[in-house]
Amino acid sequence: MAMAAFRREGRRLLLSPVSYNSSVAARSAILSDSELGPMGARSVSTQAVRNRMKSVKNIQKITKAMKMVAASKLRAVQVRTENSRGFWQPFTALLGDNPSVDVKKNVIVTITSDKGLCGGINSTSVRVSKALYKLTSGPEKETKYVILGEKGKVQLVRDSKNSIEMNITELQKNPLNYTQVSVLADDILKNVEYDALRIIHNKFQSVVSFLPTVSTILSPETVEKESEAGGKLGSLDSYEIEGGDTKAEVLQNLAEFQFSCVLFNAALENACSEMGARMSAMDSSSRNAGEMLDRLTLTYNRTRQASITTELIEIISGASALTG
């Protein structure tokens, strides 16, 4: 122990005449990771802080890259979404919008994303779906879920496992197009019995604002019933039907076509919202990482300077003890 101390003293005396500028000393302090520096000075470990800084910097790079990717994908989908907005309007103009229709069999189609890291849009959709489930449930009524997307399934399977009728994932493996969505709509219509379909999605208002929206589609029988009852659909009887053998057949085709159109627009809007939400989530994440990096750098510098100061004090006091 005493020998080690003497050796330390010796080394310090040897090197002190040489003008050892602080940056070199600092570098040696940086390069060491043990408690004992090359000059024998005790220094608090900066390795832990350094490791942390490296990982935070990497995270910042990754989130910045994800933001750029989301921004470029958003630009592509946004154009198609805005072009498809006129597609569902004729149906609402003809049949009106009856979200408060009272029917026995409700099917809630929730559109969510497959991938995560997109902010809160999936949770919002699931919350709205659950509230809608409560709204449409009652005696003699049954409500079922059809879930598009992995994230919705994960959240809804936890408490509503028995009400999930169908689950479709990997919707966005290929860019969304109408053919794919119409096949999907056909699939859904074949497998569920419904009086009213409610599609829940996030409508893309702007890059930072996404509004949860519910679009209601009624089955042909419900349309007949509502038009007889009057109200919003009352004027439907005044329309003449051209084509098809019976009014029922035309209404059936109309309902199916309406479902595929509305689903197409809803899927596109949700994809747009997903990209926008991911952009803002990744942006705030990069900003947080940047702030964290700043704080860590300050801590690191403080630690480093403190260790250099300690080293210098020890050297100087050692030197003055010998000379004075």
Partner: protein, 201 residues
């Protein structure tokens, strides 16, 4: 003096603007369903009710008392709105019951479309599109909505490909065994013959 004159001028113009009432004196149509919002608030008071399509649509004009002179046409496809709110004289739609001409003041109709030619007449110019299929809604207020899955201007159709397609599908129809194959081949034959007719007609 000139300073006062300009101020008085601006004041007069401003007053005139203010005194004029709003041109749309009608109450705005509801942008959300009141019954739905009420029911929602009872079930989930902490969550904002979701929006409905009504909130995102511009309200349609009411039925006028006299027949208007022009027809307003909206022609939409999945990938774009081909024609939106254009005032035209006449459109001819290929309904399943045959070519149907629509003039302003046409009775309200829901028409199912078959593959054929849609022509829009505006003054002396006629624009022709070949539509795959869809629906046409003619409303009482002389607004026509045509919703189609695919539409192509007729001058972009390649006649040689049409003939080849027709020959292919006719052959498939003859060699089809199951009902599904037969109907698929029949659809192909129908579409290609309609394309043929569109090119010649």
């Amino acid at each position: 003096m000139y300073r006062h004159a300009s101020r008085r001028l601006i004041q007069v113009l401003g007053d005139r603007g203010r005194r004029r009432s709003f041109s749309t004196g009608l109450p705005a149509p509801p942008s959300e369903d009141a019954a739905f919002v009420e029911a929602w608030r009872k079930v989930a008071p902490n969550i904002d009710p979701p929006k409905t399509p009504l909130a995102f649509m511009k309200p349609r004009p009411p039925t006028p008392s006299s027949i208007p002179s022009k027809l307003t046409v909206n022609f939409v496809l999945p990938y774009q709105s081909e024609i939106s709110n254009k005032e035209v004289d006449m459109v001819i739609v290929p309904a399943t019951t045959g070519q149907m001409g629509v003039l302003p003041g046409h009775v309200a109709t829901i028409a199912e479309l078959k593959p054929g030619v849609l022509s829009v007449h505006e003054g002396n110019e006629v624009t022709k599109y070949f539509v795959s299929s869809g629906f046409a809604f003619i409303h009482a207020n002389s607004v026509t909505d045509i919703v189609a899955v695919e539409a192509v201007p007729v001058d972009r159709i390649d006649p040689s490909l049409v003939q080849k397609g027709l020959a292919d599908f006719t052959q498939k129809l003859n060699s089809a065994t199951t009902d599904l194959e037969k109907s698929e081949a029949q659809i192909g034959v129908d579409v290609h013959s309609a394309l043929n007719a569109a090119l010649s007609g």
